[in-house]
């Protein structure tokens, strides 16, 4: 990741601000992947009724929200660098992530307000599946909204053409983000499993 940041050639138009692109986009893509993974595990849970999928789905969403937050932060920095404002409503990706961030924050509130058990696992799973449906629907909504909430010319960010070195740097960054996500996911999962085991042991003893 750091390599990508330092090594990436500077874009002629945007200068150093361009570098944040190598962080922002891979992190965003990884967040989508994590939400998708969480929904897949949720589907498996509903399909098979096997409890471990609940923890896996929860962990994927958990890490996904961390990446979502990173996307918002990097996106905001990029907006500052490109247009001089910390928040840019015309940036679709950023607005979409704000909506998703709200949606998945509610996921945690839902989970914490329910008692642990199969009912919570199934409700969380249905909610996580709702998330992957909401992504394209919200994306469409954000695009459609530009016609009336943004009168005047729409600022579009020209996604950089990625020849040669830039593409390589981008791929390296994407791989880095994915690897980081996978590590976090596995770590969290192991931690949460350990927690659950400890609780069971404590019960068995007491």
């Amino acid at each position: 990741m750091a390599l990508g940041l330092l090594w990436a050639p500077e874009d002629a138009d945007q200068g150093p601000s361009q570098r944040i692109f190598y962080l922002h986009v891979p992190v965003a893509l990884t967040a989508y992947a994590l939400f998708g993974w969480g929904a897949w595990k949720a589907l498996r849970l509903l399909w098979t009724g096997r409890e471990p999928y609940d923890l896996e789905s929860y962990t994927a969403v958990h890490v996904g929200v961390i990446f979502g937050l990173l996307t918002l932060v990097t996106g905001s920095i990029w907006a500052r660098a490109s247009w001089g404002t910390w928040w840019e409503w015309s940036d679709r990706q950023l607005v979409l992530f704000l909506i998703l961030f709200l949606f998945y924050s509610a996921y945690f509130m839902l989970r914490y307000s329910l008692d642990p058990g199969p009912a919570r696992a199934r409700i969380s799973a249905v909610y996580a599946l709702m998330g992957v449906v909401l992504v394209p629907v919200s994306f469409l909504a954000v695009r459609l909204a530009e016609n009336f909430v943004h009168p005047g010319p729409i600022v579009t960010r020209t996604d950089p053409q990625l020849p040669g070195e830039m593409l390589l740097a981008f791929v390296v960054c994407l791989a880095g983000a994915a690897a980081l996500a996978a590590t976090l996911y596995l770590n969290e999962l192991a931690g949460k499993r350990l927690d659950a085991r400890l609780r069971e042991l404590r019960e068995a003893l007491g």
Partner: protein, 211 residues
């Protein structure tokens, strides 16, 4: 046929409950009209365009009010258990609740839209079509969320938090159909939303109410 019969029996029960108690609809009407009055004072300058946008905020929150009450009778008396025990398909419970909630919402909107016309001016046919489509989508997704929230602690707080991000696309579609010159796209989008979330809720509801 028996599926339709189940839905009819369950929806009829909800309408009967509202008829007896008159707990929800009158409150919704007063709230919706009250919100419009509030907008009159919240909008500086030229009002009619911005008011059209805020009309949708009123619709969203009025729907939220109905959804908060949607499972009130079941929740207070543990009756969701009784419905889950019944041999009907669980999705029929969702469909009946959605139908009843849509009925309440439409009834309230008759008053709210009349008040809007009186205060801010008329609305086009496209806007009315958008309201109808939005009601379907809001209730389809909202009843599923309400069923999720009903077993939780602090459920009165939980439902709005769950509802707003999911309802946001409806707001976009509704406002678009009301204020732009090309409402067809937005109506199409609302119809798409309705279809997608109706299918999701229809298939997912069973998992939300059973263990």
């Amino acid at each position: 046929m028996s599926y339709v019969g189940d839905v009819a029996a369950l929806a009829r029960k909800d309408l009967l409950l509202e008829l007896r108690g008159r707990e929800t609809v009158p409150a919704m009407v007063v709230f919706a009209v009250g919100a419009l009055v509030v907008f009159r004072f919240a909008l500086p300058g030229e009002q009619s365009e911005a008011a059209k946008g805020l009309l949708w905020v009123a619709i969203l929150f009025t729907a939220l009010l109905a959804l908060t009450r949607a499972f009130a009778a079941e929740r207070d008396q543990g009756l969701l258990d009784a419905l889950v025990l019944a041999p009907c398909d669980r999705s029929a419970i969702w469909l009946a609740k959605a139908v009843a909630t849509i009925a309440f919402l439409v009834l309230v909107e008759v008053f709210a839209l009349a008040a809007f016309w009186l205060f801010f001016g008329g609305l086009g046919v496209a806007a009315l079509a958008a309201v109808a489509l939005a009601d379907v989508g809001l209730c389809a997704a909202g009843v599923l969320l309400a069923a999720m929230a009903v077993g939780g602690r602090a459920r009165e707080l939980l439902l709005p938090v769950l509802f707003l991000p999911v309802a946001l696309p409806v707001l976009v579609g509704g406002v678009g159909a009301t204020v732009t010159d090309d409402p067809a796209r937005y109506l199409g989008f609302l119809a798409l939303y309705d279809a997608v979330f109706a299918i999701l809720a229809w298939a997912g509801f069973e998992y939300v109410v059973t263990e």
